[in-house]
Symmetry: C2
Subunit: 201 residues, 2 copies
Amino acid sequence: MSSRSPRQRRHEKTKQEILQTALGLIKEVGFENLSLREIARRVDYSPAGLYEYFDSKEGIIQALSNEGNRQLLEALSSIQKNQSRSVTCYLVEMCLAYIDFALHKREYFTLMSNLPSERTTIDEPVRADSPYAVYLETVQAAIAGGEIQIRENFGPEEITYSLWAFVHGMATLRLTHLMHFQANFEPVNRLSLELYLASLA
Amino acid sequence: MSSRSPRQRRHEKTKQEILQTALGLIKEVGFENLSLREIARRVDYSPAGLYEYFDSKEGIIQALSNEGNRQLLEALSSIQKNQSRSVTCYLVEMCLAYIDFALHKREYFTLMSNLPSERTTIDEPVRADSPYAVYLETVQAAIAGGEIQIRENFGPEEITYSLWAFVHGMATLRLTHLMHFQANFEPVNRLSLELYLASLA
DNA sequence: CAAATAACCTAACGTTGTTCGGTATTATAA
DNA sequence: TTATAATACCGAACAACGTTAGGTTATTTG
């Protein structure tokens, strides 16, 4: 698992320390105020020293985005396993889990929102380790089980996209326009999603 | 309409020139790379000179956001007048207009996405000149016409919110994650929205 | 033990947003 | 019309930023 040489181990360790510090800093001051120099101060390095571990500030952000993607993937996958009802029910829970992740790990979410997918065409394969893939898989299971019907120009990918857009909208709205709105959106979100999924049957 | 004194007129004019220059700059280099000094270079002012017209860089962004809000409002309102079918049909077109605005005037849209609403509670009144108000009005018309049914914990505001989240998700996804995806999303968006609205009947 | 590599720092460069002090220019009031 | 006040504008500076170059020390490898 960990690299053999002590040096490589130390390297990996401080790399993680830098990342965790950066994450905490984002939590404190927000993504747009993330400062490489402040990270350096907190890990007790000179600004230049960090460049031994990351190519640039953007590199740190990239690494954190990947980690966030991994965590979101994990959050979504754990839903699929822990329940045992209809597939559509899974779907709703997964959708709500997406929103939950956005709200409670917003340090990660705001990072990830700015990164484009490398898939440029419907013909290209879906990245297996993407949240989208998890949704797609579940939608396909729902179709196979007859819980969701496909239509003209509205196959599994289109359905998955629309669900993703729905929850992504709920999440981003909550974090931006509605950031100061005092209310629990979970019931409304759940109901909306259930209604939409019902219309796909 | 315009202020009486020549000085005030000139002031307003260069203010607009600054805003337009800033807008063009955002179009060129993106919001995150907007530079006050570069704006100053292009309008042939010293950086300090701009502070006679705006309190800060943020002030310029604020002004542009307001203008964007005005334009979005106009785009949405024009839908309502030019058509003459069912209210639900209006709604779909208005939703698609939101996405259209986001894609074709993304300089404005990206600005606006970062600004929080001042409404903090469901009890506070809705700002009349907000896109949300336009949607809400139309949803209420649809309810009054019997095209949409309200439910427990799912009144006009909740329905409007869910629609807004839906289209906002479609718009932001298209501009971030799916920015390089080569496809026309309009048919899928339309179909999704029609299905969702049908489930509200 | 020598050579090579990795780790780290100081100093600097070119940016950025913003403020201060001063100088013109224009409008207002006597 | 002239004195006073307000506006418009700029040069210079400040503090902060991301990044790079060059150099020094520590560690690993041959």
